[in-house]
């Protein structure tokens, strides 16, 4: 009789398919949470990873922005006390994929999978964020630094094929993905300042930025605004079957090309002291002729473009070290870095296998796009063919949103056969 789980589980795994998860994660996750390494089985694994991380934006701000759709003034005011000259990191979005690994005789196996990535990475001058959240009113007679700031947002889907080589000590895999990009936004702001004179007598700006965006009229699933390719590769080393494991992954290294993106650029120092009126007793005519949008754009020196563009994907480097302490305890130390953006992030987790069916892993992480975070992972191996992992990093955002700055939720699982 067919096990109904065998039908249900693939469907469930599909739920996980639309987040980012590298097939390289399979090996250290399986070893750390379940103490196993299923090299002699085919597998179908998928993951869903939601994260929202910042070093300065509180979970209260993030929750209100994402879930409420409105950031309250009192919440935004908390951000106004930050040092405008500092850097605010923010990354967020969802990632996921679904991969199938064959089980062939010999060392080589094939990998097939697809995934989706909908992520934003930014490194902003805090002043830019403050102006966005609070306006310039609280910063009267202050010069706010707006740059250098960078923001990159991509939403893309991929279809991949790869090869994996396995022997007693190491596993090496590589896959290549064809990418369909459905959304793109990028902000590059060089050194820029914004000064508001007392009582708003004038605004003195020095702006140097470029902003690019693709179209957004079509839904993400069907939109195909850019085409690209990427490569994932991973290397897993384990000297002996029950020894420590080292996993190194390089993911989403590639590019995407757009036929045409909308570009906006300003490189100009401007002093704005209001619409000039020749005769205040003929106010109406003067405001009509001087205050339209074209005039303001002309004052700011805005230039627009629509050209083709190729960009690099936000690749990631990840190193995981799993050290099994005993049959029930396993220590995992991880480091990961988004390529060319942000700071490295470190993670420490101690997995306790309470029983075959459940294991708990308290963990903490720091740096990266965040500060210091903690959470709890729960994993289960309810059947020989099924492994499920849930990493719950929402505790802080639920218990102390005003004083915490990050949140994440990871769902992963694998079907073995």
């Amino acid at each position: 009789m067919n096990n109904p789980l065998k039908y249900f589980i693939p469907s469930l795994l599909m739920l996980f398919a639309f987040s980012a998860f590298s097939q390289g994660d399979k090996w250290w996750n399986e070893y750390h949470y379940f103490g196993s390494k299923s090299t002699n089985k085919s597998s179908l694994w998928g993951s869903f990873d939601y994260q929202l991380k910042s070093n300065r934006l509180s979970n209260k701000i993030l929750n209100e922005a994402i879930f409420d759709g409105r950031i309250m003034k009192e919440t935004a005011d908390q951000f106004s006390s930050e040092n405008s000259n500092s850097t605010t990191y923010l990354s967020g979005g969802i990632m996921g994929d679904l991969w199938f690994r064959t089980n062939r005789k010999g060392a080589w196996n094939f990998l097939f999978g697809f995934g989706a990535n909908d992520m934003l990475y930014s490194s902003l001058k805090t002043g830019l964020g403050q102006i966005y959240l609070n306006g310039n009113g609280p910063y009267e007679d202050q010069e706010l630094q707006l740059g250098p700031s960078r923001l990159n947002y991509l939403s893309y889907q991929s279809l991949g094929f790869g090869l994996e080589y396995t022997n007693e000590k190491f596993t090496w895999g590589v896959s290549t993905q064809l990418i369909k990009t459905s959304r793109y936004q990028e902000l590059r702001m060089n050194s820029s300042t914004f000064y508001t004179a007392p009582n708003g007598a004038y605004l003195d700006t020095s702006l140097d930025f470029e902003y690019y965006s693709s179209a957004s009229s079509q839904p993400k699933s069907s939109a195909w605004y850019g085409t690209g390719a990427s490569v994932n590769t991973y290397f897993v080393y384990q000297n002996k079957p029950d020894g420590a494991m080292l996993s190194v992954q390089l993911s989403d290294v590639g590019f995407t090309t757009f036929k045409g993106v909308n570009g906006y650029a300003i490189t100009k120092d401007s002093l704005f002291s209001g619409v000039e009126i020749n005769n205040i007793l003929e106010l109406d005519d003067a405001l009509q002729t001087n205050a339209d949008l074209d005039s303001i754009e002309a004052i700011l020196g805005l230039t627009t473009s629509h050209n083709s563009r190729s960009i690099a994907l936000p690749g990631r480097l990840r190193i995981d070290f799993v050290h099994p302490i005993n049959e029930k305890l396993s220590l995992a130390i991880s480091a990961r870095q988004a390529l060319f953006l942000g700071l490295p992030e470190f993670r420490l987790g101690m997995n306790f296998i309470a029983s075959r069916f459940i294991a708990f892993e308290p963990h903490l992480s720091f740096a990266g796009f965040s500060r210091f975070d903690y959470g709890l992972a729960v994993s289960s191996n309810p059947a020989d063919f099924l492994q499920i992992i849930i990493k719950y990093d929402l505790i802080e955002s639920q218990l102390n949103a005003s004083n915490s700055t990050s949140q994440a939720l990871y769902l992963g699982g694998q079907l073995l056969f």
Binding site: F18, I71, G135, P138, G200, S273, G274, I280, D284, A286
Partner: protein, 690 residues
């Protein structure tokens, strides 16, 4: 295994369904609603005395000291000579003055052979047999011949003549004298005698002519001539060459016919010719020698009984436009038999200049000379005309409004007022007091026409109709009446001003009520000397007699709670997306070099002048000076309700209460003084993503 898995259609459907569902779950991130505090400048402007007082109302001395100058019209009118004039209706019934017919001739002859044959007998036979030979011709008496038919029907059927002649010419080719020739001519139709003549002797080979007077006679187109008696005197026995073809030739010529009536083919001829000197009416005591029409018509109405096409020409030789005289050439169709035909023509005379001296007939005024000519053309048709036929012509110059006149333009006197005229100078002054160090008021007159006037200024009052205050201005210091001379030409008006005495006058008091009206009463008399022999005067309808009051006020004054008000239209649509503004503060930052303290409020009003919201700023603008600008920042806080009211307004009334720095010393205004003003605002703005 995966192939086996996918071989099941149910599995495929489940997978695809999940893909679709999950695709739609990845929602688009939308920008959150945010409340920002925005601090921004809105507008900036500079106001100097140049923007507050236009050039036309301002004098600036070399040192920059500013005076207000204002000219207020008191009276302006053109001369009454530009009212509509008209001529009497020139009408003339003209009968056909003359009708003429062309002279016509007819020739008849009798040969010797025919005479011999008519005589008959031996003598007749003898003459016939002697043809070609010489032979004496015996006397033959009491011969007669006729009738000789004379056919002029190709030229007339019948004609009754006032005068005319029928010449009968007898040419004797016989070799013998003829005597006692008795000739008559009769109308064939009724055998009435037209005329007769007796030729006592026509020698051989001679021509004799006699004329029959046709005055009062009716002559038909078909006539019969008879030689009632003639004698051949013979050759006295002398043989002569006998040629039976020798003839007596009778030529009948009708000439110099003045027709009374006729059915005839008339030659082309003028049948009416009239000259007239046409007098203008409704001119009063004007003596116009020339006038150029601004508008007007020559109306010609013609009634004709002439049964032929009449061509008429109406000509005013001294009515010219671009040196081309006024001339009408028209035609009127033949009248029906026994009836008449009427036609009317209108010809505009705009731009024509008429010599109104009556030249070339007379040398007078208010009259112009014209000619009327009626003519028939030769059509080659028989037409019935008589001197009873008439052409009635009515000619009138109507709706004539001159734009330029010359001559003597009349002695007229009109009383004006008391009549109030608007005074705009203080329209923005609402209350308070202002004491000017000096006030000058002059009365001026500009005369653009070549006519002298007297203006007797009886009273001049300053009125404020809002506060019901009035001050009668003391008119000492000016002449009474004011003697106004004529302009030298239409481009060079005569102008003069008379200044009121400011020391004994009450000019400051008059201005201190901030009058919005000046009430004036005066008598204006043209040609006060009544020199009606002066025909050199001129007037143009666009040139007027203007009386005005010139007010000059150097801006050296003491102002005490002087309230000024001015209104500017305002379109709240110039505020883009105001729905996001929650509340805020307006800041007015002012740098002031005027020597005035002031408070300011902005009243927002709707289209019916109802006040909706008033922005009262908390501080006052401090006084500055030419050398030092004072800086003031005024604030006004507003909430959403107040902003909503402002957004319904259509105008802003700026109310300012100003005081000079000192209430005992005069403060002066210079052209380089002014205020720089920046309006900015701090407001909470909701960027709403909904």
């Amino acid at each position: 295994m995966i192939i086996k898995f996918l071989n099941n259609r149910n599995h495929i459907v489940s997978l695809l369904l999940l893909v679709l569902i999950l695709s739609s779950c990845r929602r688009e991130f939308e920008r959150p609603t945010l409340e920002n505090e925005i601090l921004t400048p809105i507008l900036t402007t500079k106001l100097t005395i140049n923007e507050i007082v236009p050039d036309s109302l301002r004098n600036t001395a070399n040192d920059g000291f500013v005076s207000l100058v204002y000219r207020n019209s008191l009276y302006s009118a053109a001369l009454s000579s530009f009212q509509e004039l008209e001529t009497r209706e020139f009408n003339q019934t003209a009968k056909l003055q003359s009708l003429a017919l062309s002279p016509r001739s007819a020739i008849r002859s009798i040969s010797l052979g025919q005479v011999a044959e008519a005589e008959g007998g031996v003598i007749g036979q003898l003459i016939i047999n002697s043809n070609g030979n010489t032979s004496p011709i015996p006397p033959l008496a009491n011969l007669s011949y006729g009738p000789l038919a004379v056919d002029g029907s190709a030229f007339f059927e019948t004609v009754t003549l006032d005068s005319g002649y029928m010449d009968v010419t007898i040419e004797n080719q016989f070799p013998s004298d003829l005597s006692n020739i008795n000739f008559e001519i009769r109308n064939e139709n009724d055998n009435s005698l037209v005329g007769s003549e007796v030729f006592s002797l026509v020698p051989a080979n001679d021509i004799q002519t006699k004329s029959i007077d046709l005055a009062g006679k009716t002559v038909d187109g078909n006539l019969l001539g008879n030689i009632l008696n003639f004698n051949v005197d013979g050759t006295g026995g002398n043989p002569v060459l006998i040629d039976t073809n020798d003839q007596i030739i009778v030529t009948i010529t009708v000439r110099d016919m003045k027709v009374n009536s006729a059915t005839a083919i008339f030659p082309a001829q003028d049948v009416i010719s009239l000259e007239d000197t046409n007098a203008m009416e409704n001119v009063g005591d004007l003596k116009l020698t020339k006038a150029t029409a601004k508008t007007g018509f020559v109306t010609v109405r013609v009634v004709s009984t002439v049964e032929d096409t009449m061509f008429f020409n109406y000509f005013i030789p001294e009515g010219k436009k671009n040196d081309v005289p006024f001339e009408i050439n028209e035609r009127i169709n033949p009248a029906p038999v026994g009836g008449s035909i009427t036609k009317e023509f209108n010809f505009p005379v705009d731009g024509y200049t008429f010599d109104l001296t009556g030249f070339p007939i007379i040398n007078h005024y208010n009259a112009f000379y014209s000619e009327l000519t009626g003519r028939i053309d030769s059509t080659g048709r028989l037409v019935n005309l008589s001197l009873d036929d008439s052409l009635l012509v009515y000619v009138k110059l109507s709706q004539f409004v001159p734009e330029y006149v010359e001559g003597y333009l009349g002695n007229n006197s009109i009383s004006i007022g008391p009549e109030a005229v608007s005074l705009e100078l203080f329209k923005n002054f609402k209350a308070g007091s202002i004491d000017f160090e000096e006030v000058k008021i002059s009365i001026g007159v500009n005369n653009g026409n070549g006519v002298p006037f007297n203006v007797d200024l009886q009273s001049l009052e300053a009125l404020n109709t809002k506060t019901n205050e009035q001050v009668a201005i003391n008119l000492t210091g000016i002449d009474n009446p004011l003697i106004i001379q004529e302009a030298s030409d239409i481009f060079s008006p005569w102008e003069n001003t008379w200044q009121l005495d400011e020391t004994s006058g009450n000019l400051n008091d008059a201005l201190n009520i901030f009058p919005n009206r000046l009430s004036v009463a005066m008598n204006v008399t043209s040609n006060p000397a009544n020199d009606s022999f002066n025909l050199t005067q001129f007037a143009v309808d666009s040139n007027k007699l203007d009386a005005f009051a010139d007010i000059e006020v150097p801006l050296s004054f003491i102002a005490d709670r002087l309230k000024l008000s001015d209104t500017s239209s305002f379109d709240p649509r110039s505020i883009k997306k105001p729905e996001g503004i929650l509340d805020g503060v307006f800041y007015l930052t002012i740098e002031n070099t005027f020597p005035l303290h002031a408070t300011i409020e902005m009243e927002f009003i709707d289209g019916n002048d109802n006040p909706l919201e008033t922005a009262i700023f908390d501080e006052q603008i401090t006084a500055g000076s030419q050398s030092r600008a004072s800086t003031s920042t005024l604030e006004w806080a507003f909430n959403r309700e107040q902003l909503n009211r402002i957004l319904k307004s259509s105008a802003i009334v700026f109310n300012i209460e100003a005081n000079t720095e000192s209430l005992s010393e005069y403060s002066k205004i210079y052209s380089d003084q002014g205020i720089s003003l920046t309006l900015s605002s701090r407001f909470n703005y909701l960027f709403d993503n909904e």
